[in-house]
């Protein structure tokens, strides 16, 4: 192939080199972030981290037990709110609504899932926190639900849509009422995709910070009621991470490690089991 001129060959080499550099630029931050979280996080690990409350700025020791508790509360509460709603909404869009209505609802779902997460926080601040006069775990969970409802609805809808029509017909032809056929046969056929969608949405909201600022707010103590402010791992990372105290920054890295492990574990499980 000596017909290829020098210039064309050089251009080709430049393409190879630049695109390889691009890949490198894409991978480097990932490697750097994961190793930073791993190294700094492991340094922060201690028994106290899991069992103690944070200490006042400047003093040594302390932990983020309250943030772990808070994240568990927020994620469970928002799951309890958003899983049923998102799941049922997905069923309506896929199984009951006429084509026009269904695509309208689907695009509304897209819009809701596209709003910035801090907006969800502002909204709940305005309609829940201000009227109630207090930041609370409930408000935080509601804000997270605003984010996860459309995710779960969309995942449910598309998992159901991929169940062949034949399966529904076979169920109905057995004389099974439609709602029972949907719940026990169609949903079951789509269960992999639905569960994967739900787990991924949990992983996503577990790492959300912005919607919690104006709702859950944060706290130095364990939560005793859903109507009190609580803290959460991502809040700890934000507040402690941007604080000038070394001990707090250390805890922020510890919290990051916990969060990254949780999120990564969920997505690995989802991948392994449901191939998503």
């Amino acid at each position: 192939m000596n017909k290829i001129s020098i210039k064309r060959r050089i251009l080709n080499v430049i393409f190879y080199v630049l695109s390889a550099i691009a890949l490198l630029l894409l991978v480097t931050p990932l490697v750097s972030i994961f190793s930073a979280v791993l190294i700094e996080g492991v340094k922060a690990l201690s028994w106290d981290m899991f069992t103690k409350l944070p200490q006042p700025p400047g003093s040594k020791g302390g932990g983020i037990a309250n943030a772990i508790q808070g994240t568990l509360i927020l994620v469970s509460l928002s799951s309890a709110i958003s899983i049923p709603i998102g799941f049922l909404a997905g069923i309506f869009m896929s199984e009951y609504s006429e084509n026009g209505l269904s695509s309208f609802l689907k695009s509304i779902t897209e819009i809701l899932s596209g709003i910035p997460s801090i907006i969800a926080g502002l909204f709940v601040f305005s309609v829940v926190v201000l009227p109630m006069g207090t930041f609370s775990a409930l408000a935080g969970a509601l804000a997270l639900s605003v984010l996860s409802i459309p995710l779960i609805a969309r995942a449910t809808e598309s998992a159901l849509a991929s169940v062949p029509r034949d399966i529904r017909e076979a169920a109905l032809a057995l004389g099974i009422p439609r709602w029972k056929a949907i719940i026990w046969i169609v949903v079951r056929a789509a269960s992999g995709g639905i569960i994967a969608g739900i787990m991924l949405s949990i992983a996503r909201v577990a790492g959300e910070t912005a919607p919690l600022l104006f709702t859950a707010f944060g706290s130095q103590y364990f939560a005793k009621s859903l109507l009190e402010p609580v803290t959460a791992l991502p809040l700890v990372i934000y507040v402690y991470g941007s604080s000038p105290w070394e001990e707090w920054v250390r805890l922020a890295w510890g919290a990051s490690l916990l969060l990254v492990i949780t999120v990564t574990m969920i997505s690995v499980i989802v991948k392994e089991r449901y191939g998503k």
Binding site: Y16, Y96, G114, L122, A153
Partner: protein, 299 residues
Amino acid sequence: MSLGERLFRALTEASSYIILFLVIAIGYSLLLDSLPVFTKFGIWFLFSSEWDPVRQIFGALPAVIGTLETSVLALVMATPVAVGAALFVHEISPAPIMRLFSPIIDALASIPSVIYGLWGLFFLMPLLKEWVMRPLNEALGFIPLFSGSPQGPSILLASVILAIMILPTIASLTLEALKMVPRELVEGALALGATRWEAVRITILPHASESIKASMMLALARALGETMAVTMVIGNTYKLPVSLLEPGVTITSIIANSYTEATSELHISALLALGFILLLISVVVNVISRRLLGRVGHE
């Protein structure tokens, strides 16, 4: 219809209307809450650049400009990297790397944004300051864009973090688009004696360009609404941006930063009004990107 049937159907229907209700309620409540600030300052809220909670004066311009500037800058930096990486993986690299690519993309996309912020603060900032910001400032400091004295927190740093965060969005959609280009086209071009680059330029890029544009819009929407990472590294100085190397502010960062101190009604209203502006911008960008995506056959 049996009772069970009616009940179940009604439940699912009500649930999906909750989604519609949320969309309307979010828009409506933010609009309502913005009214005090709009009645007080009128349209000038959008064009004034002063933000003084003590004197109760609020203007949105620096935040709006900062949001647009960081997001667009991020897009400019991320697109070539993401597209280049996707091209390398799809056209050049051996298959094993290609299989590794989507887990990498997924991992990048699944890192919580607050962790990007933490990493940006402690790892990227010193690097960028030493190796990019200082040299830029020394060499090109006479240009306003690179003037000032770089301390670290800056518009540039925020944009770089944002760029990293939107890489997966662009890369994954681009890769999908590349996979949809008929293989015969590329092989045909190669058989005619085109170099790999020429084959890419002539056959692949034209085919994928619509998808790439759509993915850029989607990425832009993500960048506009991104809060934590930006808030942690931008420095939060409420002024119109001049130099990339100095601290700035975005809509999300001023909101996030004020969450402990906003108590007066007007201050809260100003923050919610900023939220409303952000909502409008991001819904518009999102809808456009969905349109584009729909046109190229995703979903």
